[in-house]
Every structure is written in C-alpha cells, then in structure tokens.
C-alpha cells in the first residue's frame, strides 16, 4: 500500500495529539528509568504567586502547596506513573474494609518531625481532627471532605483507624490528597492556627527561610524516613509574579522550571529561544476558572440576574480564541471534560450558559435582566493579578457582558488580597478557581456545597437540595447511578447559577532538560515534594 506524504503527516499528527491528550499518558517513564541519579545541588524553580500562608489544610491555591509540599508528608499519595493509583507515603501498609467503613493505616516507624519529635498515630489523629472539626480561628477547606469520618482511633503509636459514619466511595483518594499534610500534635496543641505561620513537617526538606517577595528555601532533611532521598541538597522556590520575569528566568537558567503551567505563546517563545535545552510536557488539567456571584449581595441574590450573566458568555467561541493565547481551553461542566464522569457536549449544550446559539442566548439574557429590573447593571469583577490565565479571562468576561449592556469594572489584586476579599464576601462577582487534584466527583462537587459545609464556596450560597444530592452520591457505589446524581447536581448548580465553570485549563510545563525525576500529571498540586528530583549537570 502506498502511503502519501499527507496521509503520513496526518497519521503522525493524530498519534501525537492522542499522546499529549491521553489521560493515562506516562510522562515520567523516561525520567524514572534514568540509570545514574546524580545527588546534590540546589534546585531553583519558579512559583508564579506568593503563598498567602503556609497551611495547606486551609488553602486551595497552589501557591501554598508549591511552597510547603517539600516540607511535609501525607498518609498516602498518588503514584504519578500510574495516576490516579495511590501509594504509601507515611504509611507502610493500609487496609480498607469491604464495606468501606473502616480504613486502617500502619505508619512507618522512626519518622521524626524536623524539630526532632517522633511521628506517631496521635499526630495523624490531631491533623485529621483539625481538618474535620477546625477549632475557632482555624480555616479548614477540607471540612466537607472529611465530614463522613465518625471517629479516629489510635490503638498503638503506629496504627491509625478511621471509622466512617457513612460510606464515602472516594475516601481512599482523599487520604492521598497533597493538601492533607501531617502536622505535629504537639504543635497543634500549642497553637491550632500555628501551621499558617510555622513549618514543622516530616518531609524531604527542612524549612530554611521565606523572604517575602523573593523566595522560599529548603535544605535536605538528612533524617528523612525514605532512605536515599532526597537527591537534592536543597531548593529555592523563587516568586516570579510577572510572567515575563519567569520566562526570562527559565530562559537564562536562573530557574530550571515552572511547575504550574505556562501559556501556548510562552511555550513557543521558550522552544524558539532554547531549542533542545527545554523540555515541554502537556496535559489536560484538573483545574477550571469559575464565574462566581456573591449571592449575599444585591442584585446577585436574584437567580434571573445570575442566569442572564452566565447566558451572555460565549464559552464555545471563547475556548477557540482563548486557547491560542492562554492556558484556558476546554468547555466543561463541574467535572473535567474528557474524564469518565464528565458531561458530554451533547448534554452540556442544553444547560444554561452552555448554548452554542449565543445570539439567542444573549437575547434571553437581556430579557431576564429586564424582568429583574437591571437592564443597566454595573458591577465590579474581582480577579487575581496572575497574567495567566486570570487576566485573559477577565478581559473576555468584560467583553461578553458588555454585549448585553452590562458595565463591568475589572479589579485585579495579589493572591492574598484577592482571596481575602472573596473569603470575606466583599466581592460582587469574582473569577474564582476550582483547583482539584483528581477527577473524583466527591472533590469536584464539594466547592458547590452550602457555605457552611464548604468554606471555598465563595458564592456563599446555601442550597440544601445540592447538599443532599452530594451526600447521596457519596454513598452510591454503582457508577451509573452515581453519574446520574452528578448530572442532577450539575443541572441544579447551573440553573441556580451560583457559580459556573468558565473554561478548563490546559497544562504546559517547561523544565530544563537537566532537571530529572519530576513527574508530569493533570494536576499541578501533585508531585511537588521534590524528593526524587535531581539535576543532571
């Protein structure tokens, strides 16, 4: 058979496309098989935002995790070579009862915190108790996730048993969440809010310093419980708030990578200027930007106003344009498009805000605004001052809303001020984010629960119907029934329009080819302990 050049090119392009978009793509094979690991050296990498505080349990921004993850350990963690499979971190083994009501973890012996205190089951219990029942003054963004834990038993210093009140089919994955780092019970007893400002973990690196506006530094933990790790002598996470500064730093070799993600244009610039010195890895991303209305504020307490504003957004057209200039790409519902529980396009277009007939949709939006008595609506859109992709999203939304006669003032601020404004409920409308570390619906849907259960619900909505569907779906072990419940949940969220995904992200990570052992995944929250990273220099 004769194969034309065109056919061959099409085939190659198709194969490449499948390769980069495939969910189970093993990004790390080449690195993992590296025969001669070189030890030593200090890794400099870029962090595009400064951590608002040090406590991963009370945070949902990667700025905290990229800062703090190397200092801590978790019970389990995701095996990025076989994502989403989980593996031991602080544990040596674990068992799950067939009825999913009991989880037993055996801890690694002789693990010490950086201050020398030995790690015991009491530390795990104190950490999880703080997350599920945060004391006054402590914010836990994992409260809803662990609400199903009935009790935590510690029969001996190396055994922890979690007894559930109700079945949660995704509980094991939650024990592998990178956010659930283990704190010292002694530290928490002294000051429950201490982890916000003080770091004392069991991770591969020991905290050295945080110079505000400059960097966070860590040095090798010689007493790390995984023998032979970490490979590096230390690391420095350098805050590069401006994209141009970050790119220059990568290009000039001041940093060897930026592990969150860059835009297509930034990728092209690095490839063009650095040639074969730069490694580019791509994946779909378990992260989306949300349009979030503060329902405590007028007129956003009116469902007609919220729906009108959502219906004015041409997501399909936007995804085509924005994907060329930003990390925003796919149109999707509450679950990452392309993942097993995601709503297919044919169903999505029937939901408010997702119609492909944007003219008709905008006409309806205008009618709704008129009905609600807000034809000349004006408000402020709160946004984060991260160039990628928050600024393009803000510019896009302002344009979309102007097309139905709505005037919007776009305000951008630093991560700390941005989160503080939203968390205090001082925003009208905001561009929020849903930062997930896996595709499981128990995680993806939690952001939409009533504010009392989910502090990261910045729309501040209270909806018992949604809460009930969520709880029921957690108990459901039949995938088809669970899928139906996710659809019902999604429909309710979008009809009420408290908050709605704008677009899902596409992850592009640049690293110098001298950087080895770092593993790519669909989440930028994973793989940041840096214990198996090394430099081939």
């Amino acid at each position: 058979m004769k194969i034309s050049r065109r056919t061959a090119l099409q085939g190659t392009a198709g194969a490449l496309a499948l390769g980069v978009s495939g969910f189970d793509w093993d990004f790390t094979k080449a690195n993992a098989q590296a025969p001669n690991v070189k030890r030593g050296g200090v890794l400099n990498f870029a962090i595009s935002a400064e951590a608002p505080h040090y406590d991963p349990a009370g945070s949902d921004t990667y700025a905290t995790l990229h800062f703090a993850a190397p200092f801590y350990s978790t019970l389990l963690r995701f095996n990025l070579s076989k994502f989403p499979a989980v593996e031991n971190d602080l544990t040596t083994s674990y068992t799950v009862a067939p009825d999913l009501m009991t989880y037993t973890f055996k801890l690694t012996p002789n693990v010490n915190f950086h201050d020398g205190t030995p790690l015991t089951s009491a530390d795990v219990k104190a950490t999880y108790d703080r997350m599920r029942n945060p004391p006054t003054g402590v914010v836990s963004t994992r409260q809803a996730t662990f609400a199903d834990i009935g009790s935590i038993e510690t029969p001996d210093p190396l055994t922890v048993i979690f007894k559930m009140k109700a079945v949660n089919a995704s509980m094991l994955e939650h024990f592998a969440s990178p956010w659930n780092v283990i704190y010292s019970a002694k530290d928490l007893a002294e000051n429950p809010a201490g982890p916000r400002t003080k770091i004392n973990g069991t991770g591969p690196f020991i905290f050295v310093e945080h110079v505000k506006g400059s960097h966070v530094a860590g040095k090798k933990n010689d007493a790390y419980f995984k023998k032979g790790f970490p490979y590096l002598d230390g690391f420095k996470g350098i805050f590069t708030l401006q994209a141009a500064a970050m790119l220059n730093a990568v290009q000039g070799g001041q940093v060897l990578g930026e592990f969150r993600g860059i835009s297509p244009a930034e990728r092209d610039r690095l490839v063009q200027t650095m040639g074969d010195k730069i490694r580019i890895e791509e994946s779909s991303w378990t992260l989306n930007l949300l349009v979030c209305f503060n329902v405590d504020k007028k007129p956003f307490d009116d469902v007609r106003v919220r729906r009108a504003l959502l219906m004015a957004i041409d997501r399909w057209g936007g995804s085509v344009g924005l994907s060329k200039i930003s990390t925003l790409r796919s149109v999707g519902g509450v679950i990452r498009p392309g993942s097993p529980f995601a709503t297919p396009e044919s169903e999505l277009v029937k939901l408010p805000g997702f119609s492909k007939d944007i003219k008709k949709s905008r006409e309806e939006a205008k009618k709704l605004l008129k009905e609600a008595g807000h034809e000349n609506l004006k408000f402020t859109l709160w946004n984060r001052n991260l160039a990628m992709p928050y600024t393009p999203a803000g510019i896009f939304l302002v344009d979309q809303w102007r097309q139905i006669g709505v005037e919007v003032e776009h305000k951008q601020s630093d991560t700390g001020a941005y989160l503080a404004t939203m968390n205090a409920g001082n925003h009208d409308v905001a561009i929020d984010f849903s930062n997930l570390f896996m595709d499981d619906s128990s995680l993806g849907l939690a952001k939409y629960l009533s504010i009392g259960r989910s502090p990261e619900n910045r729309s501040r909505s209270k909806d018992e119907t949604l809460d009930k569907i969520y709880d029921d779906h957690l108990r459901e072990r039949d995938p088809e029934k669970r899928k139906a419940m996710i659809r019902a949940f999604e429909k309710r969220v979008f009809e009420q329009g408290y908050q709605q995904p704008l677009l899902w992200w596409h992850r592009i990570v640049p690293t110098h080819k001298t950087l080895m052992g770092w593993k790519m995944s669909p989440s930028h929250n994973l793989g940041q302990q840096l214990e198996d990273v090394w430099m081939n220099t």
């Binding site: 401006q242 994209a243 141009a244 790119l247 835009s263 244009a265 930034e266 610039r269 063009q272 057209g317 936007g318 085509v320 344009g321 924005l322 060329k324 200039i325 001052n385 160039a387 600024t391 393009p392 803000g394 510019i395 896009f396 302002v398 344009d399 102007r402 003032e409 776009h410 305000k411 951008q412 601020s413």
Partner: protein, 303 residues
C-alpha cells in the same frame, strides 16, 4: 492714603492704549515654531482623547478572535492585538487615559507644590526650614520609585473610572520638584515693595500668598506643569507596564506594551510599535512645549 493694586503693571495709561499688536499665540508660533508643532501634536491628542468615541473606528474593548494578531491593513490601520482588538482605537482611547491621568496628576502635584513653595518662601524661618527638609526627603526618591511606593502602599480607589490612587501616586513625586522651583521664584517676589505694602495694609497671609504672590510666579508654575504632564504620562505608562497602573481591559498605552504583548511581539511587532510611538510622541510634545513656553515666557531668555 490709598495703595495701588500691586498686581497691576505700573505703566502709563497711554502706553496701554489699544494697538494692532499680534496676539500672544501668534507671537508664540513665530518665536517658537517647534513649540507650535508640539502644540499641534498635543491638540491632536486632546482632540482624540475628548472625541474618542467619534474618532475611533472600533470599540477599544471589543474582542474579535477572528482577527487575532492581524497586521496593519485598511480595516485595522495599526493591526490588532492578541484579543483581536483594534490597536488604532485603543491608541485613541488610550490618549484619554494618558491625558486624564497625566494632566490631573501634574496639575494636582504642581499646584500643591506651588502653594507649598510660595508659603515656604513667604513665611521663611522655621516654617521654610521644615518645608524644605520635607521636600528634601521627597526629592531623595526618583519619581518612578516614589510613585511605585505610593501605588503599592494604598489600595486601588477609583471615581468614575478614574484611578485616584494612580493620580495621587504620580502627583506626590511632582510636588517637591515644583515646590523647590516655585520657592526660588517666590523668594524674589517676597521682598518686592508691594508685598511689604500688602503686609503693612494688614492683609491676611492667605490673601497675600494667593492674590499677590501666586500671580507673580505663574510663569515657572506653568512651565513645570507642562513639563510634568510628559513625566506623568511616562510614569502612568511605566506603572501600567509594571502592572500597578490601570487594569485591563482599559485602553492605556503603557498597558498595551505589557501583558501578552511580550509574548507576541515577535510575530506581531505592531502590538508594541504603535503604543511605543504614541508614548514617545506625547512625551516629546509636552517636553518641547514646556521648553518653548519657558523660552517664550521667561524674560531672561529674551535678552
């Protein structure tokens, strides 16, 4: 006894008789042709700023992904940016931002500086010493550094879409520079006989400062005001470029040079070329106009 109004020129009535003298403006154009040319540029900029909605071919905020990064053409004279927005229209609307922030901050900074300079010269002694030390402290910082500190220290606050924080941030560094120059001019006015006469007549300090001293230092004030408009436009562009000025999607020249312009300038050089030219031209025009005005108004340059 009556005291003559000291602000009036002491010339015989016959000399002030109407005659066919060329107007000041024509005089200025004849004596300062470069100044006249720069005035034309400023006028064009003001016209574009005031009538931007009539002059601009497109809405500056409207996104058109179909025309993304289009090169200059008959449809888009200066091309389009990464959102498909018409660069020419954004430049025209950007003139409004530059003028509003440039003029307002220069006016506020220069006026407060002039008042401080006159008061400092008028009162002398301890008050003068304190004011001048304060001015010294402010002068120790370069304009853009001081503006950066102010804009970073205070939360954004806007009225009618105008960023007050940015105006204050640019006005503060202008203030000491004008105060120092105006004080020097006011020191010579302070010892003039009509000021002594005004004091003798028992006029209040406020009246003497505003009615008798201020009109006599208006020339250096005007020159500084004009010259600092250029500096303020540049400062606004710099702050916007650094992400501390106006925010997207507002059309502003400095902002047009930042953001994703850095990502696309290789494939779409018009994204940075035209805003760069606009900033340079505006700064050049205001500087030249300020210089020409000084040459025209200051009698020492006529000798």
């Amino acid at each position: 006894m009556t005291i003559a109004d000291p602000t009036l020129p002491l010339v015989p009535a016959s000399a002030a008789a109407p005659s066919r003298q060329p107007s000041k403006f024509v005089d200025f154009c004849r004596q300062q042709p470069l100044g006249a040319a720069s005035f034309l540029i400023i006028f064009a900029m003001m016209f574009a700023g005031i009538f931007s909605s009539l002059v601009a071919p497109y809405d500056p905020l409207t996104i058109d992904f179909a025309s993304l990064l289009a090169p200059p053409s008959a449809d888009h004279w200066c091309g389009t940016d990464a959102y498909g927005r018409d660069i020419c229209s954004r430049l025209i609307y950007g003139a409004r931002t530059a003028l509003v922030i440039g003029f307002t901050s220069s006016f506020v900074g220069s006026s407060l500086g002039a008042i401080l300079g006159i008061a400092s010269a008028y009162f002398g002694g301890r008050i003068d010493a304190w004011i001048q030390r304060f001015v010294d402290v402010l002068l120790a910082f370069p304009l853009i550094v001081l503006a950066l500190v102010v804009v970073a220290a205070f939360r954004k606050f806007s009225v009618g879409g105008v960023d007050i924080n940015l105006i204050v941030a640019i006005a503060i560094p202008i203030l000491p520079r004008v105060a120092r120059v105006v004080r020097a001019a006011a020191l010579s006015v302070r010892v003039a006989p009509y000021i002594a006469a005004a004091r003798a007549a028992g006029y209040s300090h406020t009246r003497i400062i505003f009615r008798h001293m201020a009109p006599n230092v208006v020339a250096p004030y005007l020159i500084m005001l004009t010259a600092f408009i250029a500096q303020a436009i540049l400062a606004e562009a710099s702050l916007s470029f650094l992400g501390l000025g106006v925010t997207e999607p507002t059309a502003a020249w400095g902002l047009m040079l930042s953001g994703n312009a850095a990502d696309f300038y290789r494939q779409a050089p018009w994204m940075i070329l035209f805003p760069g030219v606009a900033i340079s031209l505006a700064v050049f025009a205001f500087n030249l106009f300020g210089d020409s005005l000084r040459d025209f108004l200051d009698p020492r340059f006529k000798v």
